[in-house]
């Protein structure tokens, strides 16, 4: 069944569309290129609000490290433009599309922000939310608002940019965004350490985060989880001027391995390819089951995995990013997605678990997002109502209550 599409032409249309949806009590799915419809709770919406027409970079000043664009500007277009000027989005937006069998690199900038999708470099450079300087949007009340600005240092009023990142379009439909952009490193290399247990690999990664060598990617892939690697690996990315990368790489090797460990060094090209795979969550791509994303304290990552294993979970595959603080987990499908067991274990460590991939029935029946304590849940609902009292935007996408 295809839903009615509301193709808005401009912001005025958007205001009108949201107002009339409110008047008719017909909830809207907010879409750019539609690459993220499989994420979040499943609730049938009445209409699709397509922001496709809102495209184009409206301001780009490389020397000021700032870029503004309309909401549905393809992320690929922005990344290409930045690359031409040796710049990038430092948080390395991750891409869920390959997990859903879709072509990668097809999303919009607002979509990438709305799910706060941060890749491997998050551990050094911050998350998507740390790079959104300002935005304009139409709230669920049908009001056009703006927040923030185009400068990095700004504490004028509440920082609503943080709130819209990760809100899945439930508070407001973004129309324009302004991002902090950063220089691309001159070169990069990745040090791969082999022949250690999982725990040892993760300890090495954490040891590296205590070093002054500015490691910008720290992941651990269990044996056999990734092509070309038949043993456990710890991967550490170094970026910067050539001379600095070489020197830091040497120091890091000395400090971490005391020269007795098998290792390989990925060249710039190999390193880029490797981290692209991590950013696209490819080590577990071949698994056909349900996929969870667990965010925990870096030290506790390994304990969480061991607890899940001893609980007898049908694990198909997993790997760690962010020095152990982010776990991508694939399990054999079940209607309940083992949510209770997984969350009980995550709760012990402190953190949260999000069900990323599961069928519609499962996503309609269990909490896709980690349940919140009462005080936080009530506050979360009140914030939703303050922006969208009639729950017209993405009703039920985050929580059954709104």
């Amino acid at each position: 069944m295809s839903l009615p599409y509301l193709h808005i032409r401009d912001v005025a249309d958007l205001v009108e569309a949201i107002n009339s949806a409110q008047a008719m009590n017909k909830p809207l799915a907010v879409q750019g290129s539609g690459t993220k419809t499989n994420l979040g709770r499943y609730v049938a919406q009445d209409q699709i609000l397509s922001l496709k027409a809102l495209t184009g970079v409206t301001l780009y000043e490389p020397e000021e490290l700032v870029l503004s664009a309309r909401a549905a500007t393809p992320l690929a277009e922005i990344e290409t433009l930045l690359a031409k000027n040796n710049q990038q989005l430092a948080y390395e937006p991750l891409d869920y599309a390959p997990l859903f069998g879709q072509p990668s690199n097809n999303g919009t900038i607002a979509g990438a922000l709305a799910i706060n999708a941060s890749g491997p470099r998050r551990i050094k450079a911050g998350a998507a939310r740390d790079h959104l300087l300002g935005f304009s949007a139409v709230t669920g009340r049908g009001e056009l608002i703006k927040s923030g600005g185009r400068v990095v240092k700004n504490v004028t009023g509440f920082d609503l940019s943080k709130l819209v990142c990760g809100s899945y379009g439930t508070l407001a439909a973004l129309t324009d965004i302004t991002l902090k952009v950063m220089p691309k490193a001159e070169t990069e290399k990745t040090l791969i350490l082999l022949q250690r247990t999982e725990r040892e690999c993760l300890n090495l990664l954490r040891q590296a985060t205590a070093s002054p060598h500015e490691v910008s990617g720290l992941c651990m892939i269990p044996a056999g989880q990734m092509e070309d690697f038949d043993q456990n690996i710890a991967a550490l990315r170094l970026e910067g001027p050539e001379i600095s990368v070489a020197s830091r790489c040497e120091s890091l090797c000395l400090e971490l391995t005391e020269n007795d460990l098998e290792r390989t060094l990925l060249s710039e090209e190999e390193s880029k390819l490797f981290w692209k795979k991590i950013k696209n969550i490819e080590p577990i791509k071949a698994c056909d089951g349900q996929i969870w994303r667990l965010s925990v304290a870096p030290r506790d990552g390994i304990d969480v995995i061991e607890s899940l294993q001893s609980a007898g979970l049908p694990i198909q595959g997993y790997f760690y990013d962010w020095a152990g603080g982010l776990i991508w987990l694939a399990i054999a499908p079940a209607p309940h997605a083992y949510a209770k067991i997984i969350r009980a274990i995550v709760d012990q460590a402190g953190g949260h678990g999000t069900l990323i991939r599961a069928n519609v029935e499962t996503r309609a029946s269990i909490d896709v997002f980690h349940p919140q304590p009462k005080v936080l849940a009530q506050l979360t609902s009140r914030i939703k109502f303050s922006f969208d009292p009639a729950c017209i935007l993405e009703r039920g996408r985050l929580r059954a209550e709104f």
Binding site: R129, L163, K184, L379, T380
Partner: protein, 497 residues
């Protein structure tokens, strides 16, 4: 410019004795300041232009006491103003005559240093610099470094989203905290984040950071610590025009270099600094720039050379690269002394805090000079050049009739100028009461209402730090916080406020 604060509520004033009686049951005598002399000490924060005598000052020591105070305030419908170390430059913790001043300076303990997860759990009254002091032995530090870092508190840093000189590379407070505990209006506890790196659903920590004490009372903060860079070197530069200095700064960034810090001072500031405590700044320069590079030794040496070359292309009249740690600190000493040094050239100054797109600097400074002349005042400039944060210091003499008002009006004009070139009212000092009435220069009514509704979601009765940030106070009900359609409230089962 007179400051209009929310009207004193007679029922609060007349209920003072009862309030004190009830506070005595919550707090030991040493945590309660009732007498006028004692309260006078708290009548302002570092924004000293406006003062008010707080109704009563409380200095709780435990979270349970904070909860009880907040519950009591709600029960008696009394206003509460939270305060950390009292270093706000915008009057964020300026007391209210009919409000409890809740001071968190007894929350002064570091609770846990978690090297494994690179974070530290602290109470809000811990001074910013103490975090670095506690972990530097292991090679770590806490990145945000506001100038007041020896006294300002972490809780206040969170409330104001404090910055410092290293923001361009290392971010503000909001980019460097992982967890928060907060007591809400009514006394409930809200816990957010922890040692993990990201939040799920709405990022309340992001909203609370920089909320200027309007949403709750922060009782614990988990900050991220970073390994100290291997080396740092400074380059001291002089230029014969501000324009040349600004061009240099832009060119450095265009080369893909993000220095750890990049500061600019104008001639007036340099003169003041050299009179206060000479540190070798070139007195013949119209603009002095300090660039700090940090990282691996080879990288820093390499980039120092690149920066030196750029400076020559941009016509630098002085270029000195620090050859030792002592020399690096000496380059910084003048900049760090800049604010007190300005008192050598004027009895009083008002420190402004706008941010502008960096490229607009020359025209903004020119226009600022014109404005200053119109008011018969002068301005010295200190500028976080890397991130566009401008600190014009308006020089005046409070003993001269009308000078205070002139300084305030000039300040307002300068901030309007910042907004008109695409900048903002405040980069790191906060809105507080100082810039409150200028908010509509930057925001529409709808923009402000969206923010005020968020305030209502946390504090429906508007009892927490009222009169700050927002120019006009509305009752939450006026915003249509409840959307009633056809007589039916959506999702009626949910708790409302």
């Amino acid at each position: 410019m007179s400051l209009i604060m929310p009207e004193r509520e007679p029922q609060i004033m007349s209920g003072r004795e009862l309030l004190i009686e009830k506070l005595r049951k919550i707090l030991p005598a040493t945590s309660l300041i009732i007498d006028e002399t004692g309260r006078r000490a708290f009548e302002c924060d570092a924004f000293t232009m406006h003062r008010a005598l707080p109704l009563v000052v409380v200095l709780p020591e435990t979270v349970a006491q904070v909860q009880a105070i907040m519950a009591l305030a709600t029960e008696m419908n009394v206003k509460v103003v939270p305060r950390g170390a009292g270093t706000s430059l915008s009057g964020g913790s300026m007391p209210l005559e009919d409000g409890i001043l809740l001071v968190l300076s007894k929350f002064n303990r570091i609770l846990e240093i978690d090297y494994d997860n690179r974070c530290v759990r602290v109470q809000p009254g811990v001074q910013n610099l103490c975090v670095t002091k506690a972990v530097e032995g292991q090679g770590f530090y806490y990145a945000p470094d506001p100038s007041s870092q020896i006294v300002c508190s972490i809780g206040g840093n969170v409330a104001e989203n404090s910055g410092g000189v290293h923001c361009l590379k290392y971010g503000l407070t909001t980019n460097n905290i992982l967890g928060l505990e907060m007591v809400l209006v009514g006394g409930e506890i809200l816990r957010l984040g922890g040692a993990h790196l990201d939040s799920e659903l709405y990022d309340l920590m992001g909203i609370i950071t920089g909320s200027e004490g309007l949403l709750g009372v922060i009782t614990e903060v988990t900050v991220r610590i970073l390994p100290k860079a291997a080396v740092a070197r400074c380059i001291l530069l002089g230029f014969d025009s501000v324009k040349a200095g600004a061009m240099f700064v832009g060119t450095v960034i265009a080369h893909g270099i993000i220095p750890a810090g990049m500061e600019m001072m104008d001639k007036k500031t340099v003169e003041a600094v050299e009179r206060f405590q000479p540190c070798g700044y070139p007195l013949n320069a119209e603009a002095v720039v300090i660039v700090e590079l940090d990282g691996a030794q080879v990288e820093v040496d390499h980039l120092a050379n690149v920066v030196r070359q750029i400076s020559q292309q941009c016509g630098a009249t002085t270029t000195k690269v620090s050859m030792s740690e002592t020399e690096r600190l000496q380059f910084w000493a003048g900049r760090k002394n800049a604010f007190p040094a300005v008192n050598c050239i004027a009895p009083d100054y008002l420190c402004m805090d706008g941010t502008i797109p960096r490229a607009r600097l020359p025209e903004v400074l020119e226009r600022m000079d014109e404005l200053a002349q119109q008011y018969g005042l002068s301005v010295a400039n200190v500028f976080h050049a890397g991130d566009g944060n401008l600190h014009p210091l308006i020089l005046y003499d409070a003993s001269k009739d009308g000078d205070v008002a002139r300084a305030e009006n000039l300040g307002a004009d300068i901030l309007r100028l910042c907004v008109s070139v695409g900048g903002v009212l405040t980069g790191e000092h906060g809105v507080g009461v100082e810039k409150r009435d200028l908010m509509s220069e930057m925001f529409t009514e709808a923009d402000l209402e969206a923010q005020m509704r968020l305030k209502c979601a946390f504090d429906p009765a508007g009892r927490l730090n009222p009169g700050k940030v927002f120019p006009t106070l509305h009752r939450c009900a006026e915003f249509g916080m409840m959307h009633v359609q056809g007589g039916k409230i959506p999702f009626a089962h949910l708790p409302r406020f």
